[in-house]
């Protein structure tokens, strides 16, 4: 009988990602209604040391699949390992973050174990022993509530939506799972991980984002956005208009065909607020708009707006925030 919640605790290079702690938090809230215990799954090479922290964060058991072939993520290797863990743990619910890894891995595993999967969920509750998941569709222009009535309920959660769980005093039982993954099962092999050299946080995980739009007028002008971002410890984003005009790289595009972000504070500079841009940032907790066009739709969703020239306001705002931080 399938029981309990299994949280896939994503790690890279031996470091646990925030999504694991976010998953453990929501799992703890659901577990009363779902029944059974909250357990965690870790996959990698020499990662059992993470079990200690996972125990403190509420996992009763930590299922560990280790091996040389699992040192670096691969969809085939990790899917086989997670499948082996699921078969052994027999959970009712499997949770993961909707991260680069989670979005790639979960559907492959769902196909292996015959589970239903709901991606990128922003709210979860339990009803009658089943998870009811709320998730945005049409890039947040609408929401749906769904369940997975019969199979294992696989659910990935949007990063930054649930607060990470606080460490307590628990400890977990470690269960080693032999997934028998060697390089021969991996046909898509990660040869290299190119790291973007940036001291700024990742867009989808950032607490604060400063974004520039068409109003930036050039890529060089983005330096004022970067200066404001650095004072705030923020990530830098851009609208599609800015990317299409060559002012910013596609990797930082926020919107329906870019990244969907969910920060505490989103500062939109020179962004008009096209529907497809708003789809990517409208769940931000506080939105600030700086735009000289008072009619720009962005002001309809902004908590605070300044109708003025961003080239005047942004550097001044940077100075003001510096002053506040120094106090």
């Amino acid at each position: 009988m399938s029981e309990g919640i299994l949280v896939f605790a994503e790690q890279r290079e031996g470091k646990m990602r925030k999504s694991a702690l976010e998953g453990l938090n929501i799992a703890a809230q659901l577990s009363g209604d779902i029944g059974g215990s909250v357990n965690a799954a870790v996959i990698g090479k020499e990662v059992s040391s993470l079990a200690d922290k996972l125990g403190k964060c509420g996992a009763a058991k930590v299922y560990v699949a280790e091996g040389d072939a699992l040192e670096v993520y691969s969809p085939e290797g990790y899917a086989k390992a997670l499948e082996a863990i699921i078969k052994q743990a027999d959970p009712a619910v499997v949770l993961a973050g909707y991260t680069g890894m989670g979005r790639d891995l979960m559907p492959r595993v769902a196909a292996k174990v015959g589970a239903g999967l709901l991606s990128d969920c922003t709210d979860l509750k339990a009803e009658g022993g089943k998870v009811v998941a709320k998730r945005p569709v049409y890039s947040g222009k609408a929401y749906i509530e769904s369940t997975i009535p019969e199979s294992i309920q696989m659910i990935s959660i949007r990063p930054n939506t649930f607060p990470p769980v606080d460490e307590g005093g628990g400890s977990a039982e470690v269960v080693n799972v032999d997934a028998s993954v060697d390089m021969s099962v991996i046909r898509a092999v990660v040869k290299e991980i190119e790291k973007t050299v940036s001291s700024r946080p990742e867009l989808t995980e950032a607490d604060i984002i400063v974004s520039g739009g068409r109003g930036m007028k050039s890529s060089d002008n983005f330096n004022i956005i970067e200066e404001l971002a650095d004072v705030l410890g923020a990530a830098v984003g851009a609208s599609r208009a800015a990317v299409d005009s060559g002012y910013a790289e596609q990797a930082i595009q926020v919107g329906q065909t870019g990244k969907v972000v969910n920060p505490n504070l989103y500062i939109a500079c020179g962004i008009s607020g096209a529907i497809q841009h708003m789809a990517g940032m409208r769940t931000s907790k506080v939105i600030v708009a700086i735009n000289k066009d008072a009619e720009a739709p962005i002001f309809q969703v902004a908590d605070y707006g300044i109708v003025d020239d961003l080239f005047k306001i942004v550097p001044l705002l940077t100075q003001e925030i510096k002053k506040l931080k120094a106090e």
């Binding site: 999967l117 973007t196 065909t257 969703v301 902004a302 707006g305 109708v307 306001i313 925030i321």
Partner: protein, 254 residues
């Protein structure tokens, strides 16, 4: 390939929460699928072979298929069955996998997600069902000269994973992979004569059980409305100072 509402479309939820009101909504080729179609055509131009566009959906999707054919795809396979009207990712992947098995492609490309349900599942699901390797969200592809493997890269948090993948393989495409071409007028004329094979559930080769949904949608909701907030007025020195103060003291976010 799939058809989806245009990114500029307004999405209106029926008052009873039963679904979306699509009256007046313009449907286009799912934007990420354009990169897949373009990549397929470029591969065909370089290595030869045949580029086939496969779609599941109601009659209207033929329009998007004709666009793909006008861009340069050779022929289409259209799967349409009333039983698949609300097919979820699992059902869709099972039906597509059955049709793709029949075709026997060397490389299966699709968008990284459809901009309707945004689940980002079907391609990886298909890869597993066909026992093929997968790389999702690719933004770079270099095919080996012998056409038997490819070097592809996909963005992840803080960087990119560079893969070497043997073919056959499934890949989902991200913006930035290429610049999708526009259909030319002669292309549009030619597309009208290209073959689109019509299949239903029975002829697609999928088992009826595999085409069943695993997900049950309870209801549709509009997103929470955001209220327009405060517009801060004054000289730049005043407004910027006021904004900084509000963010710290009122919103408590900095």
């Amino acid at each position: 390939m799939k058809q989806a509402p245009d990114t500029e479309a307004k999405i209106v939820v029926n008052p009873d929460g039963s679904g979306i009101n699509f009256d007046g909504v313009k449907f286009v080729m799912n934007p990420y699928d354009e990169y897949a179609v373009e990549q397929a055509i470029q591969l065909k131009e370089k290595f030869g072979g045949e580029a086939i566009v496969v779609t599941l959906g109601p009659k209207r999707v033929v329009e998007a298929m004709r666009t793909a054919l006008a861009m340069g795809m050779d022929k289409g396979v259209h799967i349409d069955d009333p039983a698949l009207e609300n097919a979820d990712a699992s059902a869709t992947a099972n039906v597509l996998a059955a049709a793709l098995k029949e075709i026997g492609a060397d490389i299966i490309l699709g968008g990284k997600q459809a901009i309707d349900y945004d689940q980002s599942q079907v391609m990886a699901y298909v890869a597993e069902l066909l026992d093929m390797p997968q790389v999702s969200n690719i933004s770079l592809m270099e095919m080996a000269e012998d056409g038997k493997s490819a070097k592809v890269s996909r963005r992840i948090e803080g960087g990119a994973e560079v893969y070497e993948v043997s073919l056959p393989a499934v890949m989902s495409c991200e913006k930035g992979l290429n610049e999708p071409r526009y259909a030319s007028l002669p292309g549009i004329m030619k597309a009208k004569k290209k073959e689109i094979k019509e299949l239903d559930l029975a002829s697609s080769g999928v088992g009826a059980d595999d085409a069943k949904n695993k997900i049950d949608i309870k209801n549709f909701m509009s997103p929470p409305e955001r209220q327009a907030g405060k517009v801060i007025e004054g000289e730049p020195e005043e407004t910027s100072a006021e904004l900084a103060k509000l963010l710290r003291e009122e919103a408590k976010v900095i």
